[in-house]
C-alpha cells in the first residue's frame, strides 16, 4: 500500500459510512466488512514491520561500540572520583594497665603500642581515587584519628601514578607507603590481624610512609618479575629529619611471583632500605628521650603463598605469609633523661620475624594464627640503654565477613616474653562504605 493510498483511506471511510447507512443490502454490508478486514490486515502487517525495524535499530544502536549504556545519564557527578569511607572501631582488654608500648632492645617511633583499652574508635579512613586523565591516576587517603577526645586529621597516602609510560614502567610521586616488604603497602583495613607484626612495629613504626618518588618496572616475562626503586624525603621512621636536603632515604626492591597449577600462587620479595636519620627521636616509658643521628639500613625478605581449591577463593582458601627484617644502625645516640644528657657512639643490630597463616574454612569465616619474634644486639656506652633483648608473641584471630564490605574480628594476643609481657583481647569492626576498592595481592 503506497502513501497516497493510505491517505485516501479516511476519505474512503467517510464516504462509505454514510453510504452504508442508506444501503441495506446484505451483500453490500458483507463487501464492506471484507474491505475493512483487508484494510486492518494490511495495517497490522505494516505496524509489525515497523516494530521489527525499530527493534533492529535499537539492537544495533546498543551493540555499537562505545555507545553509552542506556542508563548512563549526563550529570556532573559522573566525573566524581571513586570514594570510600572505612569505619573501624574496637573494644580492647589488657591484662596490665595500658601505657606499655616499649619493645625491649628497640628505639621505637611514635606509632607503636597496643592502643587504648576499652571501647575506642580506630582510624577512620576516607579514600578518593580516579584517573586524572589518560596519563595519570590520583589517590588520596585521609585518616581521622580520635585521641584524648580530639580529632586528628592525617594525610596518609596522597599520590599520583602514571598510566601510560612505555615498556612496563610506572612512576609514582607524592606521599605513599613504601614498596618494601609485603605488608608495608597494605592499609590497616586490609590487615589480617588487628595490629601489625612486632617486627613492623619495632623497625618501621608500624609502616614506612614517606614523601618521594617511586619507579617500578614489570618485566615482560611469564614469571612475574617487578623491580622498584624509591627516593624518599627521609621523614618516615626509621628515617627522620628529612636529612640530605630532603633526600634522606632510598630503597631498592624486587618481587618475583608465579603459580603452581590453578590452586597455588606465590610471591617472594627482597628489599633494601637505606636512610640517614638526623635527630630521630624515640622515647621510652621511663620518660627518657633518645635522639639518633647516623645511618640506618634494613633488609627485608618476604614470602607469601596462597591456596584455594581450583583457584576459587570464595569457598575456602589459605594464606601463608612470612617476613624477615634485619636492620643495622650506625651513628651517635644522645640520651636526654631526668638525670642529664649524654652522647655516645651507637651501633644497633636488630632482627624481626613473623609468620602467619590465615585459613578461610567456610565462606565468610576465617581463622588465623601469627607468631612474632624480634631480637636485638645493641652496642653503646650510654647508661640504661637496653643492649639486647628478645620478645615473642603469639596471636590468634577469627573473623567473619558477611559481605566483602563488612568484617567483625576477635583477636587474642599472648606475649611470650618481653616487657609488655601480657595478654590482650580485641573485638574489632571494619566497615567499608562507598566504592568497591580493589585489593592488591
Amino acid at each position: 500500500m503506497t502513501r497516497a493510498q493510505a491517505r485516501s483511506v479516511p476519505l474512503l471511510l467517510a464516504l462509505c459510512i454514510p453510504a452504508a447507512s442508506f444501503a441495506v443490502s446484505d451483500a453490500d454490508v458483507e463487501a464492506l466488512r471484507r474491505e475493512l478486514a483487508a484494510m486492518r490486515d494490511t495495517y497490522e502487517a505494516r505496524i509489525g514491520a515497523l516494530e521489527a525495524r525499530v527493534e533492529a535499530a535499537e539492537a544495533s544502536a546498543a551493540a555499537r561500540p562505545g555507545s553509552p549504556p542506556a542508563a548512563a545519564q549526563a550529570s556532573s557527578s559522573a566525573f566524581n572520583p571513586a570514594m570510600s569511607v572505612i569505619l573501624q572501631g574496637r573494644a580492647a582488654g589488657f591484662g596490665r594497665p595500658e601505657g606499655h608500648r616499649d619493645i625491649p632492645g628497640f628505639l621505637i617511633g611514635g606509632e607503636t603500642g597496643v592502643g587504648p583499652e576499652g571501647l575506642s574508635l580506630s582510624e577512620t579512613e576516607i579514600d578518593f581515587s580516579a584517573n586524572v586523565d589518560d596519563l595519570f591516576y590520583g589517590f588520596a587517603s585521609i585518616a581521622l584519628n580520635q585521641e584524648n577526645a580530639e580529632t586528628e586529621i592525617e594525610l596518609e597516602e596522597v599520590y599520583l601514578q602514571t598510566l601510560a609510560l612505555p615498556e612496563g614502567f610506572t612512576l609514582k610521586g607524592g606521599q605513599f607507603l613504601s614498596g618494601i616488604g609485603y605488608l608495608n603497602t597494605k592499609h590497616s583495613h586490609a590487615w589480617d590481624f588487628v595490629d601489625t607484626p612486632l617486627a613492623y612495629e619495632a623497625m618501621l613504626n608500624t609502616q614506612l610512609l614517606d614523601t618521594g618518588v617511586q619507579l617500578n618496572w614489570v618485566a615482560p616475562t611469564d614469571t612475574y618479575l617487578q623491580l622498584g626503586a624509591e627516593i624518599l624525603r627521609g621523614e618516615g621512621f626509621p628515617g627522620g629529619g628529612g636529612a640530605h636536603d630532603g633526600l634522606g632515604s632510598g630503597s631498592l626492591f624486587g618481587k618475583l611471583g608465579g603459580e603452581v597449577g590453578d590452586s597455588h600462587t606465590w610471591q617472594a620479595g627482597l628489599a633494601w632500605l637505606r636512610t640517614r636519620p638526623r635527630g630521630r627521636e624515640s622515647s621510652d616509658a621511663l620518660g627518657n628521650l633518645y635522639v639518633f643521628d647516623g645511618s640506618s639500613d634494613m633488609l627485608i625478605a618476604d614470602f607469601v603463598w596462597k591456596w584455594a581449591p581450583d583457584g576459587n577463593y570464595r569457598e575456602r582458601n589459605v594464606i601463608l605469609q612470612a617476613e624477615y627484617l634485619h636492620r643495622w644502625e650506625d651513628g651517635s645516640l644522645e640520651l636526654i633523661s631526668p638525670n642529664g644528657s649524654f652522647v655516645e657512639a651507637y651501633r644497633g643490630d636488630q632482627d624481626g620475624f613473623y609468620g602467619q597463616v590465615v585459613y578461610q574454612f567456610m565462606p565468610r569465616w576465617r581463622a588465623g594464627l601469627r607468631y612474632d619474634h624480634v631480637w636485638s644486639d645493641n652496642r653503646s656506652d650510654l647508661p640504661g640503654l637496653p643492649r639486647g633483648d628478645a620478645s615473642q608473641r603469639a596471636s590468634l584471630m577469627v573473623d567473619f565477613s558477611h559481605t566483602e564490605f563488612s568484617r567483625l574480628r576477635l583477636q587474642w594476643n599472648h606475649d611470650m616474653g618481653g616487657i609488655r609481657g601480657d595478654d590482650a583481647v580485641f573485638l574489632q569492626y571494619i566497615m567499608s562504605l562507598g566504592s568497591h576498592g580493589a585489593h592488591t595481592f
Binding site: 546498543a62 551493540a63 555499537r64 561500540p65 562505545g66 555507545s67 553509552p68 549504556p69 542506556a70 542508563a71 584517573n131 589518560d134 591516576y137 601514578q161 598510566l163 601510560a164 609510560l165 612505555p166 615498556e167 612496563g168 614502567f169 610506572t170 617500578n216 618496572w217 614489570v218 618485566a219 615482560p220 616475562t221 611469564d222 614469571t223 612475574y224 618479575l225 617487578q226 618481587k255 618475583l256 611471583g257 608465579g258 603459580e259 590453578d262 600462587t265 606465590w266 610471591q267 596462597k306 581450583d310 583457584g311 576459587n312 577463593y313 570464595r314 569457598e315 565462606p363 565468610r364 558477611h402 559481605t403 566483602e404 564490605f405 568497591h436 580493589a438 585489593h439 592488591t440 595481592f441
Partner: protein, 293 residues
C-alpha cells in the same frame, strides 16, 4: 644491557596477545584471531570472577597483553583495577583500543533503579553475566574483530574473514538452538545467583527464584526454608547453577521439590561435554530440554 634483552624479547614475541578476564571471551577471541593471536584467560570456568586475587601471574599476563577482553559492569572490580594500575601496560587502559569491556557493547539487563548495598552485590551498570545469551557472543565477536584489526592492521583481512565465517556459523547455530528450545518458553527455573538473566530473556524462561537470598549472599538454612515455602505455589523444572557455585543448596532443594539440580555451562570447559563455544549452548539447550520432559 637489560634494556637490550628486553627489546630482543619484545621483537621475538611478535604474536598478538589477548588476555580475557573470563574463559568465554578467550574462546571468542580464539575464534576470531586463530593462529595470529596468543589467547589466555585470567580465570578458569571453575573460578568465580567476583573473587579473584590480583595474582603475580595475572600481572605478568596483563603486562604483555595487547588486548584485554572483560565482562565489565563491575564483575572484575575487585582485581582488574589493580592489574591495570600495576602492570605498566599503557595499551590496555580503559579508553584504549586494547581494552574491551563487554558491558559497553551489548544491551544490558537489570540496570538497577535503586543502588543500595543492603540489596546485596548490586552492579550499577547492570547484570554483568552477559555471556549466557548467544546473540551477545556474536556482538562481542564482531567487536573483537574490529579491535584486533585496529591493533594489528596487517592481520585485518584475516580477522574480518574469520569474523564473517564465525558469524555465519554462529547465526545458523542460534537458529537451531532457538528452534529446539521453543518448548522451553514459559518454563520456570530456579537459579543459584543472578547469572542467567540473559539466557532467561533469550529463551523466554521464567526465573522464579534465586537460591541466594540477595545477590552475593550465600543461602542459609533459614533463607532456603523461606524459599521452599514460596516455591509451593510453583512448579520449577530445574535448579540451575554455575560450575563454580557450591552444590549444597541446589541439591537440598532438588531433594524437596523434585526438580533436577543442573550445572549449566557458561564457558568451554565448565562441564565435560561443553568443549567449545557451540558445545556450551548445545549443552544448555539439551540439559534444559531433558529437565523439561
Amino acid at each position: 644491557m637489560v634494556l637490550g634483552l628486553v627489546l630482543v624479547a619484545a621483537t621475538a614475541d611478535a604474536e598478538l596477545r589477548v588476555l580475557a578476564c573470563e574463559p568465554v571471551w578467550a574462546a571468542v577471541a580464539k575464534e576470531i584471531g586463530g593462529e595470529r593471536v596468543h589467547v589466555e584467560s585470567a580465570t578458569t570456568p571453575q573460578q568465580d570472577p567476583h573473587y579473584i586475587q590480583a595474582r603475580p601471574s595475572l600481572l605478568a599476563k596483563t603486562r604483555r597483553a595487547d588486548l584485554l577482553v572483560c565482562s565489565g559492569a563491575g564483575l572484575e572490580v575487585g582485581w582488574l583495577p589493580v592489574l591495570l594500575r600495576q602492570a605498566g601496560n599503557a595499551g590496555v587502559q580503559p579508553g584504549q583500543p586494547g581494552f574491551l569491556e563487554v558491558a559497553k557493547v551489548v544491551p544490558m539487563l537489570e540496570v538497577p533503579t535503586r543502588i543500595d548495598r543492603s540489596l546485596g552485590d548490586i552492579h550499577p551498570d547492570g547484570n554483568p553475566h552477559t555471556e549466557t545469551d548467544p546473540r551477545n557472543i556474536a556482538r562481542v565477536a564482531a567487536e573483537i574483530a574490529t579491535r584486533l584489526a585496529a591493533i594489528d592492521p596487517a592481520g585485518a583481512d584475516v580477522y574480518r574473514k574469520r569474523a564473517a565465517d564465525f558469524d555465519g556459523r554462529w547465526r545458523r547455530a542460534i537458529a537451531v538452538w532457538e528452534e529446539h528450545a521453543a518448548p522451553l518458553r514459559g518454563v520456570e527455573i530456579v537459579t543459584h545467583h543472578v547469572s542467567w538473566a540473559y539466557l532467561v530473556q533469550w529463551l523466554g524462561l521464567v526465573d522464579v527464584a534465586h537460591l541466594e537470598p540477595k545477590p552475593g549472599i550465600p543461602p542459609s538454612a533459614g533463607s532456603l526454608a523461606t524459599l521452599l515455602e514460596e516455591l509451593k505455589q510453583r512448579r520449577p523444572k530445574a535448579i540451575v547453577r554455575l560450575a563454580y557455585e557450591p552444590e549444597r543448596a541446589s541439591v537440598w532443594l532438588s531433594g524437596r521439590i523434585g526438580a533436577p539440580a543442573l550445572v549449566l555451562p557458561h564457558a568451554p570447559g565448565s562441564t565435560e561435554r561443553a568443549k567449545d563455544l557451540f558445545g556450551v549452548f548445545d549443552e544448555i539447550v539439551r540439559l534444559l530440554l531433558e529437565a523439561n520432559l
